[in-house]
């Protein structure tokens, strides 16, 4: 593989693979929870149907994240984008969760 020709490329590819696999999974999960909350309107009356919506969309989100991670300029920016999106969605979810209590 041309991409694996030297160590730097190898490491950056490895980072991309890890970010896509795990970062993508975490973001897909968070996105599913967010969609569930948004489609229910709040976190109190979450209906089963909202969860099904979230779950069904999560796979498309996962695929999109993976494609994004491999198409951005550098592995570093891919990592930063995915991590920050995860943090933001996590913050929003915790905010909605806290609003109930």
């Amino acid at each position: 593989m041309l991409l694996l020709k030297n160590n730097r490329v190898f490491i950056s590819t490895l980072i991309r693979v890890l970010v896509a696999l795990f970062g993508g999974f975490i973001f897909a999960n968070l996105a599913a929870i967010l969609i569930t909350y948004l489609s229910a309107g709040n976190a109190v009356n979450v209906a089963v149907d909202d969860i099904v919506t979230g779950l069904m969309v999560s796979f498309l989100v996962y695929a999109a994240v993976v494609i994004f991670v491999f198409s951005t300029k550098s592995a570093l920016s891919a990592t930063l984008y995915v991590t920050s999106s995860c943090l933001v969605s996590f913050a929003v979810i915790s905010y909605i969760d806290r609003a109930i209590q």
């Binding site: 593989m1 991409l3 897909a28 999960n29 599913a32 929870i33 569930t36 909350y37 979450v46 209906a47 089963v48 149907d49 909202d50 969860i51 099904v52 919506t53 979230g54 779950l55 069904m56 999560s58 796979f59 996962y62 695929a63 993976v66 494609i67 491999f70 198409s71 979810i93």
Partner: protein, 541 residues
């Protein structure tokens, strides 16, 4: 920028496809067999008595009830099945409760009834079509959750492979009509394109819906966070997610008269043009005792509704299901039905099956392309050795999986009927054969591997109907006489598959014969433009 994007997508396409390629191929082939579950079942249970004449359903019900009363008097659940289009049998089944004194485990038991004299027949223990198609998502030997997660991951990569595959094709439509048969590597790429583009909607649908079917496991953290952790909460989630809208009404039947017979009568009167496929009696002997009726037909993509009868307030109440209650659940339901294809008639079923095989072909040609492209540039000997190994395992899997499935059918006839663990050994023989096929490919000279394997596949499939003649009383002529269309269809299909393998073997042999003079006079790079089997004497091996 655009070129770079396409390049990175090309890389992603190559590797997402490669990593789980063999597993995905196995999933596609075994999954495709699922569309003929009942037909495979019929062949693997040759003792079943088929119903090919008109029967009196009430008479059948009476004799079934008599059997259940003696065999399953303390069982909480009874089912009586009537002949349906793809299951022309009469059967009874019940839930056997665990009994420590007689050492009986809690299990489902079933018996087949003769339509003429009402006697019961013992049917050999077999995994049948169900065990075979279930392998495509539970992988059989691994714990269920591990199997589901592995399959989900492979499916996710498949989805990414499909999306990136569409992206990297600049002229997807023109390329679809391009086939350069004499151009080696290009020929394989063209076949790969045809296998991918023609059934692309099917591939996308089957991959995405496959992900949805396992989403409760693969994305279980979502349910944990929004619905609550633990098994009981998950169970509650599934129950509510799959809940139907139900219409309830009281009917004009006195509660004392409520019995299997009156329930069947009422169902026949209520739905005059529907055939009843199952009658069930659930929660027997409890306050919640109720009767269920299922119909054979599908209305469009939805299965025709089931009716439930129970006693409430000293009156008989019926419950008719009218589809899923939630909107998202209805979408899920739509995808589930599309994936399973239970609504399909014979023609559509074949189309499903062929599309599934085209998917398997797409994966197989993708794997072949992977080796061919690398073989060209493999300068180091070590790398070349590794690629040659992958090439051999490729052949072992691509032709080995069909051979292994044939071995599953062979073992059904060859393992003694009295053997206690015979259904386990059917599955063992499938996987032992698969491993043996891969080992065979590793040891044979590379120029003979393709043709050897194809001839082997051709012979095991063509001999299956012959085996059927010698081990049972069924054969092609008797199947026609008894109008046993499922048995006949299976035997003929096996002959057809065997013929396909034989033709493929002959084509490859002819190509190779034509190719040999060229190979001696051309360089390594050009020799790649021959079928993979002919990449022989080069230093790669």
């Amino acid at each position: 920028m655009k070129g770079r994007f396409r390049q990175s997508m090309n890389w992603l396409h190559t590797w997402t496809g490669f990593i789980f390629g063999w597993l995905l191929y196995f999933i596609f082939v075994t999954g495709s067999t699922g569309y003929f579950e009942n037909e495979i079942d019929r062949w693997m249970k040759p003792e079943m008595t088929i119903v090919n004449q008109h029967i009196d359903e009430y008479k059948v019900l009476a004799s079934a009830e008599k059997y259940l009363n003696t065999l399953a008097y303390n069982s909480p659940e009874w089912y009586i099945s009537f002949p349906a289009a793809r299951e022309p049998f009469i059967g009874i089944s019940w839930l056997q409760l665990a009994d420590k004194e007689t050492n009986t485990p809690r299990e489902w038991r079933a018996k087949n009834l003769d339509p003429i004299n009402g006697s019961s027949t013992d049917v050999r223990e077999t995994g049948g079509g169900r065990t075979l198609y279930r392998m495509h998502y539970n992988l059989h030997y691994v714990p269920q959750v591990v199997g589901y997660i592995l399959v989900s991951l492979a499916t996710m990569l498949m989805l990414i492979g499909l999306i990136t595959g569409v992206i990297i094709h600049k002229k997807i439509f023109t390329e679809f009509f391009t086939f350069r048969s004499k151009k080696g590597l290009r020929a394989w790429l063209d076949i790969h394109n045809i296998f991918s583009v023609l059934p692309l909607p099917f591939h996308l649908m089957i991959t995405y819906s496959g992900l949805l079917l396992l989403m409760g496991i693969s994305m279980s953290t979502v349910i944990d966070t929004t619905y609550g952790e633990g098994k009981s909460n998950h169970k509650r989630f599934y129950k509510e997610a799959h809940s139907d809208i139900k219409e309830k009404k009281f009917i004009n039947l006195s509660p004392e008269n409520l019995s299997l017979k009156t329930v069947l009568e009422d169902a026949h009167n209520r739905y005059k043009d529907q055939r009843v496929s199952y009658v069930g009696l659930k929660d027997r002997g409890t306050k919640n005792e109720h009767y269920d009726i299922w119909f054979d037909a599908f209305e469009g993509i939805e299965s025709a509704s089931a009716v439930e009868y129970r006693i409430k307030d000293k009156k008989v109440e019926i419950e008719i299901s009218l589809g899923k209650s939630g909107n998202a659940a209805s979408v899920y339901d739509f995808f589930e039905h599309l994936h399973e294809g239970l609504f399909a008639n014979t023609y559509l079923r074949w189309l499903y099956f062929i599309s599934g095989l085209l998917g398997a072909g797409m994966i197989a040609t993708g794997m072949i392309l992977w080796t061919l492209k690398r073989k060209k540039n493999a300068e180091k000997q070590q790398k070349a050795k590794f690629i040659a190994l992958i090439e051999r395992v490729n052949i072992g899997i691509i032709i080995g999986v069909p051979i292994a499935i044939a071995a599953y059918f062979w073992s059904n006839r060859l393992i003694p009927v009295s053997m206690a663990t015979r259904s386990d050994w059917e599955v063992h023989s499938l996987f032992i054969t698969l491993i043996a096929c891969v080992c065979f490919c590793l040891t044979r000279p590379i120029k003979e591997v393709w043709t050897n394997m194809l001839w082997l596949a051709a012979s095991v499939y063509i001999l299956l109907p012959v085996l059927n003649v010698f081990t049972t009383e069924h054969n092609i002529i008797s199947s026609v006489k008894n109008s046993d269309w499922l048995m006949l269809g299976f035997d003929l299909s096996m002959l057809f598959f065997g013929a396909c393998f034989a033709i493929a073997a002959m084509i490859i042999k002819r190509k190779k014969a034509n190719a040999i003079p060229i190979i001696q006079s051309t360089s390594l790079a050009e020799s790649c433009e021959l079928p993979p089997s002919s990449l022989i004497k080069e230093k790669v091996v």
